[in-house]
Amino acid sequence: MILASSFLEDLLRSVLQGTPSGAVFALVAIGFVLTYKTSGVFNLAFGAQAYISAAMFFKARTQWNWSIPLSVLVSVFVLAPAIGVVLERFLFRHLRTASAVSKLVVTIGLSVALPALFEIFADYAPVAGRAPTGIVPEGGSVFYDPLGVYPFSRDELAAMGVILAAVIVLGAIFRFTPVGLQMRAVVESPRMTELNGIAADRVSAFAWALSSTFAGMAGVLIAPIRFNTLISTDFFNVVFVAIAAAAIGRLVSLPRALIGGIGLGWFIAVFNTFLPRWADDHTWLRPLRDNFSNSLPFVVLFAILVFWPAIRRATDVGDPLSGVDPPPAAPAATERHRLLTRFTLLFAVGFFLFVGLTVFFRADRSWVFLVTSAVVLSTVYLSITVITGFAGQISLCQGAFAAIGGFTVFQMADRFDLSVLLAALIGASIAALVGAIMSLPVLRLGGIWLAIATLAFAFFFDAVLVRMSWIGGGDTALLQGTRVPRPILGPIDFGNDKSFLALAVVVFVITSLAVIQLREGTIGRTLRAIRGSEVAAESIGISPAKARIAAFATSAFIAGLGGAMMTMHQENVNYQNNFSPVGSLFWLVLVVTLSVRTVEGAAQAGAAFSMFEPLILKGELFAWLLRAEHRLPGFFPISGKWRFILFGLGAMQFARHPEGLLEHGKRRATAGLNRRLARRDQTRLVSRSADSGGGAT
């Protein structure tokens, strides 16, 4: 009897305890659904928008000592909608017809660039330990305990009240005003909407203002009940957790997102209460005990995606009037002039010889390290070339595949003293196997849902698998690190940095050649067909499922190999630095922004990722050009934030040039040179015929 009642009491307490964080998830989930429904964008920058309003509110309250209503007014009802309108006007209006991938890439870029921009222009810097304040006085210190089981703070009550009101208001907007239907209409086809006498631009500006205001409100409400310090990355993380709740609403249902959010909060709280007890009785649960609650949202998300058939049926609907747009420009100058090909080849050989010789003979240790990082990273990026470039699938878990390669090397070397090169191949194969298995349940998911599923896998790997002793090393690794030796092959000891660089280059070149062979071969053709039209591909006997599994496995193999190389290079797995889920998000954006279908794109992305900061921002290139460290102008080193801003701007450009920025530039240059060379050929031909004509007479 006592047992039962204490169980019920604990259950009730954990449910109540979970309600505030459930409200947080619900806020973000509703924001997701709202943005997706009214603007067609799966807005990963939601957290960034929320952060800006929260930070603005915080600054107004603490530094300017504004009153609460004024601070709310400015941060939530002025700044937030203004940002929304600006984003719509200059970015998303031009992206209406863009693919789900481009929109996703743009929002990832925004989520990085927006906080950095805000921090620079508003002169804001997070200070550790300074707790955010809420919208009610003494929100964090006055508690109410209606049931005598769990006390709610004023801030928590305020948040829960506001969210309830917001859902009612939004519901009313969608049900009783024409603007709800109009916003959905604009998402599907702005032109059809205009044919109905509705100004599409105004509707979508309103939609963005509305969803941004909601984001701002969410930020201000979440900050005091969730965070001790106002940092943008925390908002970023909470957004990923809330995706599960948004998925329960299938991205279109506001009430379901609310229920999903609250439910998720309860679920996590209940698990946190009871899992430790069960784990006391059942030893096999013990490894889960400490980590599982972190990963719960991702497990839930993955389960929803895999087991809920309704998600699979949710396909993107195209604009019936897209024919009005000018046709996409034919790929410029894929055929190159003979001279141009020869010239590029010559130039490339010369360039690499120069760089190679310089690095081998002149560079110091840190430079060899950087160049090796770039080469190794480029190998990993080739995996993105395969899965996203060739197969057209957005995978956000390449970091996890790479980590599998790295951890295998560590485990094999640590436990069995196996040759690390052999271990690298085993690791790549395991990654390929995991990739193939993971792809099975998510194969039929389209566009944005596949991205979400792979992200869920990445976070699950991050939260659970990495902490298992037989994968990430568990407690031992925490104490002693994940050390890995450099390979030794016969007489060559790759402990020498320069010889390891040579090894990295060899691995990269072999992988590149394999990737090119695949692209030009049947697999590449098959994938291109599926990318173009899945139904048509099936109609000529292609099995999309098989082709995708092959693509996932290949991609994971390459990622695993690259990850193993990275681990050997750094002589440590360095999981948090190298392979975190957020990191693989950046990888994807970087590669896709530069050029996702070419080997050069992967190489350039690798170089950009590892060398941009030291070369450009720290001014080493400039210093080298000046040949004097001390004459470096005062604005060096440039704030690292500019890296994020540039990265964000690059990602935004992607929407306009989906072939990638470098590829776009290259195509334009090639087209121009081709024209010139063709003209020269012609004049030559003319002059030659004139000559011969002259000779004949």
């Binding site: 024409p178 059809m192 100004a199 609907v317 009005v324 747009d325 000018p326 420009a329």
Partner: protein
């Protein structure tokens, strides 16, 4: 008399591809014009220019004598021009009823929505049976009916219909044309783009034949048959 719709020397492009090379066209109030021509002659582009979906790169478009060139599409719609584009021009994620409601509410106001819905379902009973079904799951022909129902009920000042009969069973085409006849007699002007000329010519007073983005011939619909046949043969012989 001022024309309801007038295109003067209109040029238009899709990116690098030029579709219209100086087209002149007039639709008088209450008039009916059939726009004829082979595929790729620019018929659809004319229809799009007449509602601002494609902007003329040169030349003028006027509605009721008022210059409308480069005005956004919704301004044309508010001036009383309804356009049923070719193909399945519907909101696939909306229900049948939502599709129609969006149009009716915007053109006719909130009060008339219910009444107009009934009219639409009377016209196409199949749609009535499926009023709360998602439009994207309708069959091809039903989607076509839905996009026609939108504009047929409105009785706009000018109705532009692009490839009405595409994908519809002959029996339904007959029905659509008798509806067009009816709304014509109630004062709506028509601009009909059709591959299948017989119906269109029967309905319209005037005909305009486009060839390679230019007006090759225009005159009364009753003369159009001979002329068009002769020309189509010529072009087919090329």
């Amino acid at each position: 008399m001022t024309a309801l719709l007038e295109l003067r020397d209109v040029w238009a492009e899709y990116g690098p591809f030029r579709a219209l090379f100086g087209v002149d066209l007039k639709v008088p109030p209450g008039g009916a014009v059939a726009l004829l021509g082979a595929n790729g002659a620019g018929k659809t582009t004319v229809a799009r220019v007449a509602t601002g979906l494609v902007q003329a790169s040169a030349g003028d478009v006027a509605v009721d004598g008022i210059e409308m060139t480069n005005r956004p599409t919704y301004a044309y719609a508010r001036a009383g021009i309804a356009h049923a584009p070719e193909g399945r021009s519907i909101f696939a994620s909306f229900t049948v009823e939502e599709n129609l409601t969006l149009t009716f509410r915007s053109f006719l106001g909130r009060q008339k929505v219910g009444e107009s819905l009934e009219q639409a379902f009377e016209l196409f009973p199949r749609l009535g049976e499926r009023r709360s079904q998602t439009a994207g799951t309708l069959s091809g022909g039903e989607q076509r009916m839905l996009s026609l129902a939108r504009v047929l009920v409105l009785q706009p000042r000018l109705l532009i219909a692009d490839e009405l009969s595409l994908g519809l069973a002959p029996i339904v085409v007959d029905e659509v044309y008798s509806t067009l006849e009816a709304i014509r007699s109630s004062g709506t002007a028509l601009l009909i783009v059709e591959q299948h000329m017989a119906h269109a010519l029967e309905l319209c007073d005037d005909a305009v034949l486009l060839e390679h983005g230019k007006v090759a011939w225009q005159g009364s619909a009753s003369d159009a048959g001979d002329v068009v046949t002769g020309r189509l043969f010529e072009s087919a012989g090329d």
